[in-house]
Symmetry: C2
């Protein structure tokens, strides 16, 4: 299997311009794949033009052209002929529903896993790259036909991961409590990816990059923290 | 339509024992309906026995008997013959899926709306009492057949509502941003019900009770705050 996948926890990180925190690794990733033009998928938000412009403004100065899939006559053909695909953040339910509505799930999966088209995801775009969207933080504002996602990698991710304060006066569940509920029902691991971190996947090699640790939640184990840079390829092996 | 519905934001409130913050209004509600025994629905959590025991321990000292629906041979019959139904909090997706799996959605709806059986909901149990679970805060750990819920009331509620801090360094969406996403897509109002507050509904009269304000989000309007006690019956009238 030949795949090139870059999964960011978030596009925005405190103290940085949009995507700026990941510039070095992202440009290395794009150069390695000889990418000049990026097909952007803005379906996680309503304002497709505006969202595509934001991404274009961030990536143009780095030397990349950004095109929105929403202005393409045939989105499937656009995916198949893309130099690279970038799915941005927003609402994960809306994003996944739109991908199914437009019959793009299998097309993207084939493009990335069979034809090696590089995939970049951020936040909701990272959620949909995994097995399922069961570990999104978003509000379920629309109903997708399934929570099964692109399955570009064989595990789950929780983007924007952070420890929420259990000592505060609010009684709603903490993030860790929510992720433990997922473990109890789905019996499979989920990687908590903090803002400022990302996974880079080449074929079967998974590398954690960024400036913060990632936290792995596994059924019947205490969570484990990994310091970047770190090889997390075991995540693809059934763990 | 004769209905008696009590919807709590949460069972637990900082500084109070389980359900204790709502004792006065809850006992008034139960007495008015001559309830002695409550049928508890623990499906939002895994440990049904333990959860039922927690509720029983809270309500026994007030003079009420609590029976878990999970030990009943025929849950539908148990609903139909209940003196009152109480659906507790936990994971809203798990709760709604279980209600559909057991074919209880129409049974509960009929019991409450046609036969006047009193309904108490808390957190997830309040979410499922509304039009849909689109405004839950929970993680989608299981996939229900639809987000449509019991429709005991004709609007949406966001339990455990609170303003989350937009000034902090975390870049994930705030609660208000999430609720505004819901408004944009579903074009209908949602009531943010803070911990410590509840709605009491008799027939077509809706009263906000508790010690904090409730915040109504409406499409194309600024949010509005209501101080308890307050008549919110307009929420049932299409607003």
């Amino acid at each position: 299997m030949v795949r090139s996948i870059f999964l960011l926890s978030s596009s925005k990180v405190h103290g940085y311009e949009f995507l700026r925190h990941a510039q070095e690794e992202l440009t290395t990733f794009l150069k390695r794949n000889s990418v000049k033009t990026i097909l952007f998928v803005p379906y996680a938000k309503i304002a497709h033009d505006k969202y595509t412009e934001t991404v274009s403004k961030a990536l143009s100065p780095w030397g990349y052209k950004v095109e929105g899939i929403h202005v393409k006559k045939n989105p499937s053909d656009a995916i198949r002929s893309a130099e690279a695909i970038f799915i941005g953040g927003g609402n994960t339910f809306l994003l996944l529903k739109t991908l199914y509505d437009l019959n793009l799930v299998e097309v993207i999966r084939g493009a990335v896993l069979n034809n090696g088209i590089p995939y970049i995801g951020s936040s909701a775009g990272t959620n949909v790259a995994t097995l399922s969207i069961h570990t999104t933080n978003d509000m379920p504002i629309v109903f997708p036909p399934t929570f099964d996602a692109l399955k570009l990698v064989s595990f789950n991710i929780n983007p924007h991961y952070l420890e929420t304060d259990a000592s505060k006066q609010h009684m709603g569940e903490t993030r860790d409590e929510r992720l433990n509920e997922f473990l109890e029902y789905q019996k499979r691991p989920v990687l908590g990816l903090r803002e400022g971190t990302a996974l880079i996947i080449y074929d079967d090699k998974v590398t954690l990059v960024g400036d913060r640790k990632a936290k792995l939640f596994k059924p019947e184990c205490d969570p484990v923290e990994f310091d970047p840079p770190c090889d997390l390829s075991f995540l693809l092996k059934g763990n």
